[in-house]
């Protein structure tokens, strides 16, 4: 067994340097050099202000903006660090609800969210929490269901807002891959730019 110790230890250290250090650092160097936008988180900067990331959803609560999907992320409770409180779209601690299908908490949450939307049946993505808690998209139906509220809040005809949604809708990649969707942050930025 002892004669096996040398190859075991030496190979572990060599692989640590090769695959644990050289490999990620080489990829980092390449990415920072040639693909800095993606490598640093696809950041959205407007007038010198960092607004977030194109890829990561953020919390919208006001009536003037499109809202993203329900988010189950949380953060430590400031008054008691042993506990957590719900902080939607906390991109420092991703999480889904992990509620099982027969969970009473889930059933009640879905009911409350659907009631807030009014129309039935509600688009599934607007009444269910995303897997990451950071889903940047809503479905086309999920965006269209919010058009009336935003048009009223901004005092414009719903057709204008709807036209914006239609324009920013993203289709499936190569026509078959993934799902049609709308990026909520991009949509809200367009909203502020075009229908202030």
């Amino acid at each position: 067994m002892l004669v096996l110790l040398r190859p075991a230890l030496v190979l572990t250290v060599i692989f640590m340097l090769l695959t644990g250090l050289a490999y990620p650092l080489a990829i980092t160097g390449f990415a920072q050099g040639l693909l800095p936008h993606q490598a640093n988180g696809s950041l959205v900067i407007r007038n010198g202000r960092l607004l977030g990331s194109e890829l990561v959803g953020q919390a919208f609560t006001g009536p003037r903006y499109f809202h993203g999907r329900p988010s189950a992320t949380s953060a430590p409770d400031p008054s008691d660090p042993a506990k957590t409180v719900g902080v939607p779209y906390n991109a420092a601690s991703s999480s889904g609800s992990n509620l099982g299908p027969t969970s009473k908490v889930l059933a009640e949450a879905v009911l409350t969210r659907a009631a807030a939307l009014g129309d039935r049946p509600a688009p599934a993505d607007l009444v269910t929490a995303s897997g990451s808690g950071l889903d940047p998209h809503v479905s086309p139906a999920g965006a269209l269901a919010q058009v009336a509220r935003i048009a009223a809040a901004r005092g414009v005809a719903p057709a204008r807002v709807e036209g914006l949604v239609q324009r920013l809708m993203e289709g499936r990649s190569f026509g078959f891959l993934g799902e049609p969707r709308v990026n909520v942050l991009a949509l809200n930025l367009a909203l502020d730019a075009e229908i202030p």
Binding site: L4, L11, T102, S103, P121, A124, F176, E179
Partner: protein, 563 residues
């Protein structure tokens, strides 16, 4: 529905198109025929004091593997415990508690990558890179080495040796894992995965709130976590995180990376034993089970949660815990792929799958991770069932069973039968222990039958070396960290050592040419027999407990009951 099926069909077609040439390439690598990095290979082996191509008896091969994994465990454990004293810790995380470090070190050394911790809130970059990423490579390479040795043993002609572990290990990393990982990581960055040494950046959102975005060397870790069927994510929610899986394209590439090597090993095996039909038969048997699992899981998720009928539009299916950009089918395909392959990365929260969808995911693991399975070990797990099936077929016709012309005798059958106990012990006995003594009720999140499913899934995932979770289950307590760790060891070495012993034993045997009475192991009859054997063993072992968990939950949901 049509687009969904097109997506699944394109995935399958691309997978086969990649796996066949990759398999033949891997066979050449393990035969020592690929030499473009020969100087590096020689230098590494010389530094470690290894003589190239010195054949090892199976016991020596197994001991080398164990020594290597033990060294990996010790180093990883120390890195995690003392990460606060090490560099590259921009967030100033504390050392990891002993039970969590124990669990995590075993988890990554056994290629399970079960995560009791939340990546972005617990681990320093040093731990993620030098600790975890290293093991992502070498635990995968260990499994691949085992497959190469087993194929050699099965094909061997009256020889005592089954190859050299150190050679196989180095070749798997240098010629297979590292080159593909580099390519994949670069593509992943292009698709939007971050790759930086910065830990986080704080933005002011459009509504004026603060949002801290966790960052890091994500792409490099994501590439190898898929390729090596490791599955351990950079972020807590793994590949559901938009930074760890930004688009439907990265989703497809990730799924291809998960299964390319496991599927490729079927074809590599065919070439290594000198009869391609043998590999194709295994490929077909696994494929049948994968397709059945996909159809079942897809149907369950598409039907949606019966409790939300009328309230939620049925067109999207069950979207709780899923991401819009992948859609239902992108999440279902992933769930089937990751549980079949012992990968364990997730792009949707399995805890929120419908009861029957969750059942399929769990059963995929409980069958022993042989539907392609983990890199290398999926193939060898399947070969254990091949030995059993050949034995059963031999019993039926009253002849001494043979495989590849070699007599399968009492020793081989006993060893294979022994491995049938691994999953029942790790899943059923350990779950029962946890219920009786481990305060399992305190760790489950959901009440009712789903609570039992959460516990069962945890011990299935650990024993199957899968690593995915019904993540509502709080495993990060000393009891579960310890026992899940033991289950992972059992599920790794409980298969690897018996199959190496079988290979060592078969290597010494004489191969007789096939006669009129030989039962062919490459035709449809054999494939059907093999699949039926696996399903019967799995069903007999797990149906009773699945009836108490997911099936009871489905019945409750249909009756409109919540818990």
């Amino acid at each position: 529905m049509t687009t969904d099926l097109i997506q699944a069909a394109v995935y399958a077609a691309l997978l086969i198109a990649l796996a066949v040439p990759l398999g033949l390439y891997m066979a050449r690598v393990f035969a020592g025929e690929v030499t473009f990095l020969a100087p590096v290979e020689r230098a590494v082996l010389a530094t470690a004091g290894i003589r190239q191509d010195e054949g090892q008896h199976w016991t020596r091969y197994a001991l080398s593997l164990i020594a290597f994994n033990a060294a990996g465990f010790a180093l990883l454990f120390l890195i995690l415990r003392f990460q606060h004293l090490l560099p590259l810790n921009p967030q100033g995380f504390d050392g990891v508690p002993a039970h969590l470090a124990f669990n995590t070190a075993i988890s990554f050394v056994t290629n399970t990558n079960w995560q009791s911790y939340g990546g972005e809130t617990t681990l320093s970059h040093f731990s993620q890179m030098l600790g975890l990423t290293t093991q992502n490579f070498v635990s995968a390479a260990s499994g691949m080495a085992v497959a190469a040795a087993v194929a050699r043993g099965f094909a061997g002609r009256q020889t005592r040796t089954i190859g050299n572990f150190w050679n196989d290990l180095v070749r798997a990393v240098l010629y297979i894992l590292l080159p593909i990982a580099i390519l994949l990581a670069v593509v992943f960055v292009m698709l939007g995965m971050p790759q930086t040494l910065a830990a986080s950046i704080t933005a002011t959102t459009l509504e004026g709130g603060q949002q801290t975005l966790a960052l890091g060397p994500v792409a490099s870790q994501a590439a190898i976590k898929q390729l090596g069927t490791n599955g351990g994510g950079f972020f807590n929610v793994n590949s559901a995180h938009p930074f760890e899986n930004p688009t439907a394209i990265s989703n497809l590439l990730s799924m291809l990376a998960i299964l390319a090597i496991p599927v490729g090993f079927c074809f590599a095996y065919g070439r290594m034993v000198g009869d391609r039909r043998q590999g194709t038969a295994l490929f077909a048997a696994m494929g049948v089970m994968l397709v059945i699992a996909f159809i079942a899981l897809y149907a369950a998720e598409r039907a949606g949660n019966p409790l939300h009928a009328g309230l939620v539009s049925p067109t999207a299916g069950n979207m709780e815990g899923k991401e819009v950009r992948f859609g239902l089918v992108g999440s279902v395909l992933w769930a089937v792929t990751t549980t079949a392959a012992s990968n364990g990365s997730v792009n949707a929260m399995h805890d929120s799958l419908t009861p029957l969808g969750g059942l399929v995911a769990m059963l995929n693991i409980q069958l022993g991770e042989i539907v392609y399975g983990g890199v290398g070990v999926g193939l060898t797990g399947m070969l254990l069932f091949v030995v059993l099936t050949v034995f059963l077929a031999g019993l039926m016709v009253g002849r001494t069973p043979e495989y590849l012309g070699k007599k399968i005798e009492a020793r081989e059958v006993k060893l294979a039968a022994l491995t049938l106990l691994v999953m029942p012990i790790g899943v059923l006995a350990f779950s029962a222990l946890a219920v009786a003594f481990g305060a399992a009720q305190a760790s489950v999140q959901d009440a009712g039958p789903h609570g039992l499913s959460e516990l069962l899934y945890a011990y299935s995932s650990a024993t199957g070396n899968n690593g995915s979770a019904f993540a509502g289950f709080n495993a990060n307590v000393p009891y579960h960290n310890t026992f899940l760790g033991i289950a992972m060891l059992l599920g790794r070495f409980g298969y690897i050592i018996p199959i190496l012993a079988i290979a060592g034993s078969l290597a010494t045997k004489r191969a007789a040419p096939p006669s009129a009475g030989t039962f062919p192991t490459h035709g449809t009859v054999f494939v059907v027999l093999l699949v039926v054997t696996i399903l019967i063993v799995g069903a007999l072992t797990f149906l009773p407990v699945l009836a108490l968990g997911p099936i009871a939950e489905q019945v409750s949901a249909l009756a409109g009951r919540t818990f």
